[in-house]
Symmetry: C2
Subunit: 148 residues, 2 copies
DNA sequence: CTACGTGCAAAAAGTTTGCAATCGC
DNA sequence: GCGATTGCAAACTTTTTGCACGTAG
């Protein structure tokens, strides 16, 4: 990327502003607030360039199309939470390690990816439907028997 | 979806026979050995039905298209390890929980997905290249600063 | 014989590419 | 003005759907 264009600026601003991983489509919608004529092709091209230049990071969740987040967020250690209701993805800080997982002998683990699934605060509040799963913080899962 | 057809049998047999997660395309190619006229649409329809009936499991890794594996493998609680060298995916048993991860207030975690990345035993032995990452078991990552 | 399942082709959905017009420098 | 960048549309890829025909029960 060389030139500074309104489109590129709007796209970068959108990702920075949202502070969470955005899909190309979400980026398009967010950036159109500044540049209504923005096309999806331009979004893809810009995302690709920003990714290569390291300005943004790629967030790939199991079975989902890729999302992009600001370098600031991508730079440090964190994982993701995906809301089953609204489909949005959020960053979650911290990582207590993976003790308990039995990697076969001889295997060298170099990094890992953790994705949490559930309902975000907004959806819980908005559609006060079920009140089964409580545990607002961490260690949900494992031991209960849900399938991962 | 009740009848026993040559196509359905071939598809199920292919997945069972391979013993590893297969993409729809791989299933098609494998099953065509028995039913040459098999079409991709039938593969998708069968996979969908088999998935719903629980006969096979879905394996979705970050950034990769979905794969399907036999129920035997998919049935119990486990996560996945993907070798950066050979690209193969292995099951890893156990799950020590997620304590340490700070989910935002109000968020309800219901399940999670963990994918480990590194080098499998076979690749480590075969291509004795680097010997940096040791930790054959668990808790690799976190604290080092690698991006997830 | 009945209707479920298949195969083919068209339709969606998501991403990339070709090109002429536009706009930054 | 020159050439990088954009927007639109067409090309691709992957998965789903509409339909008429074949075939299991």
């Amino acid at each position: 990327m060389e030139r500074s264009t309104r489109q590129g600026t709007a796209i970068r601003a959108a990702i920075e502003r949202e502070g969470r991983p955005l899909s190309p489509q979400e980026v398009l919608e967010a950036a159109r607030g500044e540049v209504p004529s923005l096309g999806i092709a331009t979004v893809y091209r810009n995302l690709k360039d920003l990714l290569e230049s390291g300005e943004i990071g790629l967030v790939a969740l199991p079975g989902e199309s890729p999302r992009y987040e600001s370098r600031q967020a991508a730079g440090h250690h964190h994982h993701h939470f995906r809301c089953d209701r609204c489909g949005r993805v959020f960053d979650v800080q911290g990582c207590g390690g993976l003790s308990g997982i039995a990697v076969p002998p001889g295997f060298a683990v170099q990094r890992h990816e953790i994705t949490l699934y559930g309902v975000c605060a907004e959806c819980r509040a908005g559609q006060a439907a079920d009140a089964d799963e409580a545990a607002p913080s961490a260690d949900a899962g494992c031991g209960h028997g849900h399938r991962h």
